[in-house]
Amino acid sequence: MTDAPQGSGPGGGGGRGGDDQRDLELIAQWKAGDQRAASALVERHAAALARFAVASGERNEVDELVQDTFVRAFNSLDGFRGDSSFRTWLFTIERRLLLDRRRAEKRRRDRLEIQEDDAATEYDALDSVVADETESRMRDAVKRLSPTQREVFTLRVAEGLSYKEIADAVGTTEGAARVHYHNAMRAVKEFLDE
């Protein structure tokens, strides 16, 4: 049994190295003036960003959030050092944008004195068509997770990120990311066993 840490080597992205390299090549092509490389990068990561947006509680303006994420990323691409993968870097930007939106939304609601449920605590975006009972139960289980658990669980299960990459994306430590994942997994199991 291997005891290699998550985040490097076994369990840490062995299957993603090629993807990361391809991202770097596309970034270089875009910097050289090839706009098609930007389109390719969008196609590669837009869906993952949309999933993460939903997991983070965004319900209505996923397109706008993903678009803003890419625009900000391309405008600051000179600052991308490649310490993390391009996708992880995008998650970081998207999460920051999401937090900014929530703050702005909260200020706006405070001004209008409208009592609404906090979008960050709801998880209705998975209300799309679900094929069968198992998936329906799974959707409900994920829905019950805390916002942080849901983010970590989505990044780990849907995107396959390592704990180190998750920690970079959501601004926490690798150990905390691991704890959040296992707590989420336990909560999902308990819900499904009910």
């Binding site: 992205g13 678009q67 625009v71 405008n75 669980f153």
Partner: protein
């Protein structure tokens, strides 16, 4: 649904699902999963969760996103190239100014006798006699320049040479002095006061058309 006690393997189940394990780690995890019902169950749960989350992905309009992506080419031109050219131009201009100023100064000094004066003074100091304590200055013409022999150093040769020939020490070359003149010069040197510690004041010669010369600045 129970948790397997092997936390390391459980940690790696999502990586197994996403094929992010290298060959040896994958073989080890697979060997454990084959013999562990809890891990098989958890791996199946992960597959369902993965499928559910992927299916729940909202549709995004890629064209809407791509249209907003900035163009890279203009940024490269505006951010890097101009700065480099500006810096290069500035250095070339500074180098040109230094060369022009230095060259002009050198040329002016040589043309107006700044270097020649020393030879001129030496050339014009003529011993008045073996016993004389003060040197006399031979009159020169109104141009106040010293005739330059053809063997003069290059810097001297650049000065005016229309003054005509002089005799004796006017040749300004020690090698051209005869024995008598040489002895007289040595005597004069012996009688000079000791060299001051500080740099002496400059001596200027005023030459009028009558042929008399008087030092100034003493």
């Amino acid at each position: 649904m129970n948790d397997c006690r092997n936390a390391e393997v459980r940690d790696q189940l999502p990586d197994l699902l996403h094929e992010r394990l290298d060959a040896s780690a994958r073989a080890a995890v697979m060997a454990h999963v084959d013999g562990c019902a809890d891990c098989r169950e958890e791996l199946e749960l992960l597959r369902v969760a993965h499928g559910t989350l992927i299916k729940a992905t909202p549709r995004v309009d890629l064209n809407f996103i791509i249209e907003a992506i900035p163009n890279a080419a203009p940024r490269a031109r505006t951010l890097t190239a101009p700065r480099r050219r500006l810096w290069t131009d500035w250095r070339v201009a500074a180098a040109a100014v230094v060369l022009i100023a230095g060259g002009s100064s050198y040329s002016l000094l040589g043309r107006h006798g700044g270097i020649v004066v020393r030879d001129t003074l030496v050339a014009q100091v003529t011993p008045s006699g073996a016993g004389s304590a003060s040197p006399q200055v031979q009159p020169t013409d109104s141009t106040a320049t010293t005739p330059v022999p053809s063997q003069a150093p290059e810097v001297v040769a650049e000065g005016p040479s229309e003054a005509g020939e002089t005799s004796g020490l006017g040749a300004s070359r020690m090698g051209e002095l005869n024995e008598k003149q040489l002895k007289a010069l040595l005597t004069e040197i012996d009688q000079l006061s000791p060299t001051p510690i500080t740099e002496p004041d400059p001596v200027f010669l005023r030459v009028d058309t009558k042929g008399t010369t008087s030092p100034e600045g003493l």
